[in-house]
């Protein structure tokens, strides 16, 4: 099993969810986050005083999928979330040791 973490532009969330559901992904966790990468921040003015906005809002997806599906999921997120402009986000893939479905106690691939 692989844990796929992706930070993407918030307005791309719905499109990515739809593409992943079509692919057969059956669940994911979504968090509103702030962060910085190559896009870095920008400056704004509030009541006449300039300040740096160092963190920009993103949406973080976390989903665990079977090993055989991971590459396809990563590719789908990458192509769907892409706008060709700076700040499109990052995708990370990690190994997962165990998964348990709370309701039934099923484990690993059966729990996904």
């Amino acid at each position: 099993m692989k844990l796929i973490i992706a930070a993407i532009k918030p307005f791309k969330l719905e499109e990515v969810r739809e593409a992943l559901t079509t692919l057969g992904v059956r669940g994911m966790m979504v968090t509103e986050i702030k962060g910085f990468g190559s896009q870095s921040g920008h400056t704004e003015i509030y009541r006449g005083a300039e300040y740096a906005v160092n963190f920009v809002p993103k949406v973080k997806l976390e989903l665990v999928v079977a090993d055989g599906m991971a590459d396809q999921v990563v590719e789908t997120i990458q192509t769907t979330a892409k706008t060709d402009k700076i700040g499109d986000g990052k995708i990370f893939v990690l190994d997962v040791n165990q998964a348990v479905r709370v309701r039934t106690g099923e484990t690993n691939d059966d729990a996904l």
């Binding site: 704004e44 003015i45 509030y46 009541r47 006449g48 005083a49």
Partner: protein, 437 residues
Amino acid sequence: MKIKLLLSTLALAAMPAVALAQEATPSFDEIGPYIMTTLLFCMAGFLVFFMAAGFAMLEGGLVRSKNVTMQMTKNIALYSVAAIMYWLIGFNLMYPGDFNGYVGSFFVPTVLDPVGVSAADAALDYASIGSDFFFQLVFVAATASIVSGALAERIKLWPFLAFVVILTGVMYPISGSWQWGGGWLSEAGFSDFAGSTVVHSVGGWAALAGAIILGPRLGKYSKEGKVTPMPGSNLALATLGTFILWLGWFGFNGGSQLAMGTVGDVSDVSRIFANTNMAAAAGAITALIMTQLLYKKPDLTMVLNGALAGLVSITAEPLAPTLFGALWIGSVGGVIVVLAVPLLDKLKIDDVVGAIPVHLFAGIWGTIAVVFYNTDAALGTQLLGIAAYGVFTFVGALIVWVILKAVVGIRVSEEDELIGLDKAELGMEAYPEFANS
């Protein structure tokens, strides 16, 4: 049948009383103005009362979410303190009747008209005591609200309320008596229709003294003099608050006509409504355009301040100007705010909601602007009044703040300030994220 009988018996029994009453009742010409003016004070008083909600929403929106509960607590407490102090001391200190022109008598609590007062015992040339007292008391509450906004996010609750006791019970009524109580400034010919100076500048001066003694919020100004903005938690609430204040201002200025018993008076009240509205609109649009030009993006918080500055600017003379006059007077108020907010930051005076530019600086401007349309006003006398209120309130407030600071301390600890006053002082968050459900 029984009911009919009962009714007719009642009617018969009442007839002699009605006849008697008709004999004793003065004509409408005699009591009409009293009734209408009393009504004006009640309605205008409700509107000005609602400004307390406006201040609360404006301040709640412009402080950070960790201080919202405290700001609401201060707002409802300060209004209530003002209401009690004005009964106990303030009202009769401010309107003492015949007095030396400087200080009236202390500790003469307000007494209302008796229940069902007769026309013979009522002040037919003015209004009922209840309506007059209520109308005047909502003004003093507005003064105290100005202070709470400027000192938000770092002042302790109880020392703040102690200051409000002094401000609303003693300081505001004494200086108010100089003008509205028929004291020395009114004798000198000073003109301040609804209180650009008497109410707004007084609140502004008290806030300025407090902001200086209290110091800025932690992290607001760096050692190199850089300003760190602390954006407000809810600009929708701040906008709602501004609109409520705008609405309340119709009572503030319109009610200050102090009479509605003649065609001239009632027409003047409506004239004041129109001018007040125009000044607010002009202040808002001016701030909108200025922030666009200066900062490339309009700043909503400045537009809100601009509308309020327009309102404060027209408050000293909302009757005499033409609509165009109200427009340019209010517009200058908007300019003042946009320039004064960064100026205060340069001086490291931290005013969370912009109360000092709006109420003090625009209040001074409005008091000067009286001379453009009111031919009875003279610039020298207006400046004398501005200076008198400035010295008395600023120095008086400075002394009270210094004493409070020395005796009980006025500022929360660094740790409490960082945690936020809601958790530290109240243990109650305005927006609890993980509430038990």
